[in-house]
């Protein structure tokens, strides 16, 4: 491992992870819990009840100033300028080439836009956003000032409402409210990365441990549990949600990745990468990111070849056990023409040709999430 423990950052919840006996691993420069009792049990707990994830490694960048709304719109492919206060939007952020710099959440908080980005991309994103910022926008690094927990599962609403009140129950999917200021600032958002109903809660680090403790107290009747990054990955993969660095990166564009629903080619003011995406769309996509469900028990891993009757037509980007599906699942880029649901392919898993069927994303469609995909911004 390239990262040594001494150089790793810790989140404000580190003491809780230690007390719970979490297995800690280096992840994007942080020492993070990969599991507590085990990935399978944690995955099932989120599908059946409710779990809490420390996602404080995610990065927060605030755009403020008179030009913030318009600039956010230029940076990302989805509509984030003309959205009301209290709305959250998922979007890729592209290079001029249409390749993906990062995928992120954009929160419309008054005239500001709060961007929540992947930990591994934080420095790159901050540089990119500062380089392109017009003079009427200030770019604020709020990463060190923000702790984040995700509370996910069919019982999440009851737990979060017990802590934050009934306003929680009236939050629609991909909306949020903010309360307080200074050290008491809290943002509660009905969003997540698991396919279950759930919330993401942002607080200042000085309030992190009390927030954790209040959620666990409120969740005790629902047998709330801490969930590590391992189950976060198996949960998101069953939903066919992209993981940056595996399924999407600077060499893939949002259209290929099945994220066309986040790309507003027609939006006012355009956006960085628009021209490349228009060209890509009119030329026709050469490849697409598909979901796969495998037969047998062998698990496909990142990089495994995908073949059709012996000819390689693609490669796996993410693969794991589909714990709630009961079969191994994967995502892969395959050549156009071999992407229709039901298409039979073979995945080369370490010398074996494992049969697999193209399956629509989400591969696990039975989650409690309010919509299988975040809706397009209105």
């Amino acid at each position: 491992m390239l990262e040594t423990t001494s150089t790793l950052k810790r989140t404000p919840f580190y003491a809780r992870h230690m007390a719970l006996g979490a297995k800690m691993v280096p992840f994007a420069g942080f020492e993070m819990p990969i599991q507590y009792e085990g990935i399978v049990a944690e995955h099932r707990a989120v599908r059946a009840a409710v779990g809490v994830f420390d996602v404080s490694h995610m990065g927060e960048i605030r755009l403020t100033g008179p030009g913030a709304r318009a600039y956010a719109g230029r940076l990302v492919t989805n509509e984030v300028s003309a959205i009301p206060n209290g709305k959250a939007v998922y979007s890729p952020m592209c290079l001029d080439s249409g390749g993906i710099v990062d995928d992120l959440l954009v929160y419309a908080t008054g005239q500001d836009r709060l961007l929540v980005v992947n930990a591994a991309n934080f420095d790159k994103d901050l540089t990119w956003i500062r380089e392109h910022a017009p003079s009427d926008v200030k770019v604020l690094d709020e990463n060190e000032d923000t702790a984040q927990l995700a509370v996910q599962g069919p019982m999440a609403e009851d737990v979060v409402a017990r802590v934050y009140g009934d306003e929680v129950r009236s939050l629609e999917f991909y909306t949020f409210f903010e309360r307080g200021s200074g050290e008491d600032w809290t943002l509660v958002s009905r969003t997540g990365y698991t396919g279950e109903d759930g919330f993401e809660i942002y607080v200042r680090p000085s309030r992190a441990l009390e927030t954790w403790d209040r959620l666990f107290e409120a969740g005790a009747p629902a047998l709330i549990r801490p969930i590590g990054l391992g189950a976060r990955d198996t949960l998101r993969l069953e939903m066919g949600y992209c993981l940056y660095g595996n399924d999407i990166d600077e060499t893939t564009n949002p259209l290929e990745a099945g994220l066309a629903w986040t790309v507003r080619l027609e939006k006012k003011g355009g956006f960085i990468g628009r021209e490349a995406l228009v060209r890509s769309k009119s030329a026709g996509l050469a490849r697409k990111l598909i979901g796969l469900v495998l037969e047998g028990e062998r698990i496909a891993r990142h990089g495994c070849e995908v073949a059709l009757q012996g000819r390689v037509v693609g490669a796996v980007t993410s693969g794991s056990m589909g714990i709630s599906i009961g079969k191994p699942v994967a995502m892969a880029y395959t050549e156009a023409g071999h992407t229709a649901p039901g298409t039979k392919l073979e995945v080369r898993t370490r010398g074996h040709e494992t049969p697999a069927a193209v399956t629509p994303r989400p591969m696990y469609p039975r989650g409690s999430v309010r919509a299988p995909k975040p809706r397009r911004a209105e």
């Binding site: 990969i34 599991q35 399978v40 391992g230 198996t234 698990i299 056990m321």
Partner: protein, 128 residues
């Protein structure tokens, strides 16, 4: 960390239990903890021949896949039939119910090249 005294070990975290001219083989408590939840093990069939320190199978955990190395050479005489339906036995009971294969040893002298429990524990110390 559970490291039974009566077993021999490899640096790759397999254990061997000797019964006459047969060697029962599995992976250690440390190994199952590092791998996390095991979801599939691929093992040779009875009658197959394995060679010391050559791969004899693979083990899929949720997060990763790992090769299994034979601590000794010989012929596979038994494969744990429970693991196909319940690979989690490797996590729950790595030294007992989670055993993988039994080998009739071709050369019991190979056992001398394996680590004692104390030596294995010392090697683990470097991980801690």
């Amino acid at each position: 960390m559970n490291v039974p005294k009566d077993l021999r070990y490899t640096k790759e975290h397999e254990w061997v239990r000797v019964r006459g001219d047969e060697a029962e083989i599995g992976i250690t408590d440390f190994a199952q903890g590092e791998l996390g939840d095991v979801v599939f093990v691929e093992l040779p069939s009875a009658g197959a021949r394995v060679a010391q320190m050559k791969g004899f199978g693979t083990i899929d955990a949720v997060k990763t896949v790992s090769d299994l190395f034979a601590p000794v050479s010989g012929e596979v005489v038994a494969v744990n039939p429970e693991l196909k339906d319940n690979p989690a036995l490797i996590n729950q009971s790595p030294y007992e119910k989670g055993w993988m294969i039994r080998i009739r040893m071709a050369s019991p002298a190979e056992l001398e090249s394996l680590l004692t429990a104390d030596a294995y524990e010392k090697a683990l110390g470097a991980h801690a």
